[in-house]
Symmetry: C2
Subunit: 126 residues, 2 copies
DNA sequence: GCGGTTGTTATACATAATATATAACAACCG
DNA sequence: CGGTTGTTATATATTATGTATAACAACCGC
């Protein structure tokens, strides 16, 4: 899993980290139980501060993507609360699709995009 | 069109304004050519600073949702660039669906959410 | 136990983003 | 002319973001 940070982006570094790790879980680069690099190693590897990595890990923990294992450090551990998760995803979709609808993007086109993306992600895991 | 600002939200006020106006266009509360309240009136009505409203209008202008009419002020004017728009929507969906896929939300469930939302938005305008 | 690791917390600092407050400007309208 | 429009400029306060250094308890391998 290669993590790339765009220092010219308007998106905060810790948020880029979060999104790339979530993307890594979705694309199976990370699996349940896998350990992430320690805050010190990852910060040194990327060339950023330790606290920036720690903030990303804290957000991922709060959002239920990782947990802290006293022996292994931070490990992938997806916490599922289906109704809650659906609600949050719908909220984000409401924003994105408002833009899409305004711009004349049809429902069928959106369904097509969903299929393209889920082909990459592979969908639900057994 | 009633605009509600949550001052306890972690989302910037000008961004909440943008999103609500885009939502208003999607739900047909605003139509092409309709004038938005002036920066001074809207800021007074909501109880925020004039520049905050102006920043929201500037973002909407840059993203192609409104334009400035010397006589009517800021009016709804959706600028369509289909390929560009599709690309941006797909980028946002990549983020949202990565989360969804991690959380075990199936492709079919996402399609269902899309249909629910597009029912409210009404889809493409003739 | 020792040395090194883990996440975590505290403090301090610098920069950028956000929001407010006043003020002024050209362009337009009745 | 008087009042509106968006726009720009300046100044200030607060928060968010990122860095820097240091320390802590808990754990691991030796």
């Amino acid at each position: 899993m290669i993590i790339e940070i765009d220092f010219n982006s308007d998106e905060a570094i810790y948020m880029q980290l979060c999104n790339q790790i979530i993307y890594g879980i979705a694309t199976r680069a990370f699996s349940e139980g896998d350990a992430l690099p320690s805050v010190r190693k990852l910060s040194e590897e990327i060339g950023i501060n330790m606290h920036t990595v720690n903030k990303a890990y804290t957000v991922l923990k709060d959002e239920g993507f990782v947990k802290v294992d006293r022996r292994k450090g931070v490990v992938i551990a997806v916490d599922i609360n289906h109704l809650e998760d659906l609600k949050e995803v719908k909220l984000e979709l409401l924003r994105t699709l408002a833009k899409a609808s305004c711009k004349g993007i049809s429902r069928e086109e959106v369904h097509g995009l969903i299929d393209e993306i889920y082909e990459e992600y592979g969908g639900y895991r057994a």
